[in-house]
């Protein structure tokens, strides 16, 4: 059911860990291109002045007293969105690699009845100047096929952190013990499928991280693959009830 457009409330969640170099620009870019959304920066125990700069740029700041990890920071945002009755969440990385001009398209996809919209840099060929290191390309190919195997739907960019969700989805994640503390990835896409949510990709442009560190930097790829396979195993055979949570009004 569609609400009248002007009463739909969207919050943009920006998890940020030591992003003082880019956070101000990221927040102002979001508010400039999307004047109707609220911006919430989740400061994940940064040791620099990320929180202060985000506040100055006009964002609401949730400061975690210790560093919990990307996924746990994001989940804080889902909890906040649920408490404050938002209809949609959009998540954007704090390093400036996601272009906020695509927020509107992600939201439109949700309004067309999808539960999750994932911004993909690989739909419609390679847009932008995102140059992709080889080992990540291999890993991505591997998880792409794995996802296809489980959900029979082609997801071209499973590691994309640029996503939008409707309330039943972020409400589900806000309460889920299965939501990972570090990096939600292919496991979450499979979890979404088994929970009965509809996922669709939307072509977006991504840039190389402005501050030069990717969210997977320092990650040992092999460990990551094993971790992800175990996550998928937990999703498939775990005992958390995978039933779609009732659409909250």
């Amino acid at each position: 059911m569609h609400k009248p457009e002007d009463s739909v409330r969207t919050v943009v969640l920006v998890p940020a860990f030591n992003e003082a170099g880019s956070i101000k620009r990221v927040v102002t870019n979001i508010t400039r291109t999307n004047p109707d959304v609220d911006v919430v920066v989740i400061n994940d125990g940064s040791s620099d002045d990320t929180a202060q700069l985000a506040k100055e740029a006009g964002a609401t700041v949730l400061s975690l007293p210790v560093n919990l990890g990307y996924g746990a920071a994001l989940q804080t945002g889902y909890k906040y969105a649920l408490m404050n009755d938002y209809d949609y969440t959009v998540q954007i990385d704090g390093d400036g690699q996601h272009d906020p001009r695509f927020i509107g398209q992600l939201i439109t996809t949700l309004q067309d009845g999808m539960d999750v919209a994932i911004g993909s840099r690989f739909l419609d060929g390679n847009l932008g100047n995102y140059d992709n290191p080889t080992f990540r390309k291999l890993g991505m190919l591997f998880f792409r096929s794995l996802i296809y195997l489980f959900i029979k739907q082609k997801i071209t960019d499973p590691t994309s952190g640029f996503q939008a969700m409707s309330r039943p989805v972020f409400g589900f994640f806000a309460k889920s013990n299965q939501y990972p503390s570090d990096f939600p990835d292919a496991d979450i896409i499979i979890l979404l499928h088994y929970a009965g949510f509809q996922v669709q990709e939307v072509p977006v442009v991504m840039y190389n991280s402005e501050t030069g560190k990717s969210m997977h930097s320092g990650f040992k790829p092999l460990y990551y693959i094993v971790k992800m396979l175990l996550s998928i195993y937990a999703v498939m055979f775990g005992n958390e009830k995978l039933t779609k949570v009732g659409n909250a009004s």
Partner: protein, 135 residues
């Protein structure tokens, strides 16, 4: 086994057992964590006093070298305690995460309320200043 060595080993295992009991008494060890430790220290104590027990059990199971059996059992219990720690640690991490997240959200709410009251105070005092010259 030479009697001196036996005395030392019995004393050591006895003090381990008493140490665990003392921790429970002083509530420094949660009861639910203490059960495994009690079982382990009691087993060590009994085995150190009653030497033939280990030999008898090994013989019964057809193990030729009794100390091997004893070491295997010891390793098994150590692993069980370590696994128990891992499980507890995961649980603690989860609880810690939830607490931290809620803390951040409530900190934000408090900031909002503080801002509101400050604005209200400023508004009120401005109001009083306006009225003052009339008196």
């Amino acid at each position: 086994m030479p009697p001196k060595a036996k005395i030392i080993i019995v004393l050591l295992s006895f003090s381990l057992f008493m140490f665990v009991l003392n921790l429970i008494r002083k509530r420094q060890l949660k009861i639910e964590h203490s059960v495994l430790w009690l079982v382990v220290s009691a087993t060590i104590l009994v085995a150190s006093i009653w030497h033939d027990l280990a030999d008898g059990v090994a013989h019964f199971l057809g193990v030729e070298y009794p100390p091997a059996l004893f070491l295997s059992i010891a390793i098994f219990f150590s692993l069980a305690i370590l696994m128990h720690f891992s499980i507890e640690l995961s649980k603690l991490k989860d609880q810690n995460k939830n607490l931290t997240q809620e803390l951040a959200i409530y900190k934000n709410i408090i900031e909002k309320i503080e801002r509101k009251t400050r604005n209200l105070d400023e508004h009120n005092s401005a109001h009083e200043r306006e009225r003052a010259p009339l008196e």
